[in-house]
Symmetry: C2
Subunit: 282 residues, 2 copies
């Protein structure tokens, strides 16, 4: 068995917790099949748990298959103004479980693009949160993955960040913009949950022999936790759940100090399973 | 004699040129002794030239000595709202020769402090430009010389810069603020004249054996040109005028490639004298 230390802050964030609870509440309220626009969170185990409760993910391209009055939940990542309007226009019952921190970004982007600012978003242009945010400024945003810019920048910029970005990349982005634009309005919209989780991972990974980062393969915030941990602790692995812990890995870490952290979409029960196995309780 | 190359952009900036011309125009118009609130520019030769034209610098502490109707020119650095009001209240004829780029900073600071932003100024807290700017937000600004901050920062910040700051320090300042505040409104108020002059000095100093930086000892923008040049060319000197060129220095640089640049307060005639001497024409 290993000596396992769980990061001070790890796992489910407020927004995700809220969206899952909302979906379950809506299911109870309507007592029929509930749909979520895309998987509610980036975690296969949670998705399976929801399906057991008659809550199914549906792709935006498939919404024609739904009937009037069907209930659809917008997940914590949020969507564009247009998508919500389309869902409503089709007669669906729309339940908005967008994380309030993301809604705050939508409002800022909407307001300041109307006030003549050019919107810049730091984030992954394929990520639903970014696609949603961009939909609040007529999809006109300049999107940067790493804070660098190829094009000439406009003079008046409002910049926001994906909630799960790294502070360092945000600093770089704002720094690069600051000398290439005259007026820069920067909203640090990195979620403090993300920040605190990242800080905890950073500290813990300096102090252990091995780090286990738990979270969905597609989860942006989990990938960042992995990168941060890996930089301090070369022996860092990324798993989705305890089933990926091989006997070989468990054996290698016998008597070692193992740190555990988890992304925002990882429920407590999965974290607990990993710790139990590494501590030899399974 | 040396081979002298003058930096592409050097010397008098628009704001200083304008203030000197304004003072001379006012002198002509009123045809009496004219006062400037502090030396019009940081250059002793120009100050002497102005005195020959009956234009004298006076300290703010001495304005009681002036009579009603006396004409006083506010120099390009600008002053606080309060100072202008005090001068007018004393019955003086106030001519405002504040650089329009500095006036723009005053307006921004005034507007955004009233809108609830906390003002941060990057600059030298002893410099008249900074003292003036701070006077447009009830002297409440947080002033940083190098972009670092000891104190905890407020959540809503509007940051401006002394017009003569280095781009690098501005980038650092905005970068440091960006991760310690939620909403940051950054106006890059570094004057493009300064920027262009600094870029020219930076390029030229990489390419010469010796750099001569001409400008007042107290001139902030000249000191920055010196620092930039010195970093590329260890053999860099800072002089106020051609009289400081020693025979020894001229001898040492015989046959060498010498770069020349000058701060915003250095008139063309002083630059020309330096070039003539180094090229052996005097």
């Amino acid at each position: 068995m290993s000596k396992v230390i769980l990061a001070e802050n790890a796992g489910f964030c407020f927004g995700v917790q809220r969206a899952v609870e909302e979906a379950l509440k809506v299911k109870k309220q309507y007592n029929k099949k509930i749909y979520t626009l895309g998987p509610l969170i980036h975690n296969n185990d949670v998705v399976m748990y929801l399906e057991e409760n008659d809550i199914y993910a549906i792709d935006y391209n498939d919404i024609d298959k739904l009937n009037e009055g069907d209930v659809i939940v917008i997940r914590s990542h949020g969507v564009s103004k247009e998508v919500t309007e389309n869902l409503e226009a089709r007669g669906l019952e729309v339940v908005n479980a967008t994380c309030p921190y993301v809604t705050n970004i939508h409002k800022k982007v909407n307001k300041y693009s109307e006030l003549g600012y050019n919107i810049v978003i730091l984030g992954d242009d394929n990520h639903p949160e970014i696609i949603g945010i961009n939909g609040w400024c007529n999809n006109s945003a300049i999107i940067t993955k790493d804070g660098t810019f190829d094009q000439k920048l406009p003079k008046k910029i409002c910049v926001v960040s994906q909630t799960t970005e790294k502070e360092e990349t945000w600093k770089n982005t704002v720094s690069n913009l600051s000398s290439n634009t005259k007026e820069l309005l920067a909203f640090n919209t990195i979620c403090s949950a993300t920040e605190v989780r990242q800080k905890s991972a950073n500290e813990l990974s300096k102090d252990v022999d091995t780090m286990i980062v738990i979270g969905g393969r597609n989860s942006s915030n989990t990938t960042k936790l992995y990168q941060i941990s890996k930089a301090n602790c070369p022996n860092t692995i990324h798993i989705e759940n305890s089933k990926e812990l091989t006997n070989e890995f468990i054996e290698e870490n016998r008597g070692k100090k193992v740190g555990v952290t988890a992304g925002a979409s990882t429920p407590d029960w999965i974290i607990k399973e990993v710790i139990d196995i590494m501590e030899g309780r399974n």
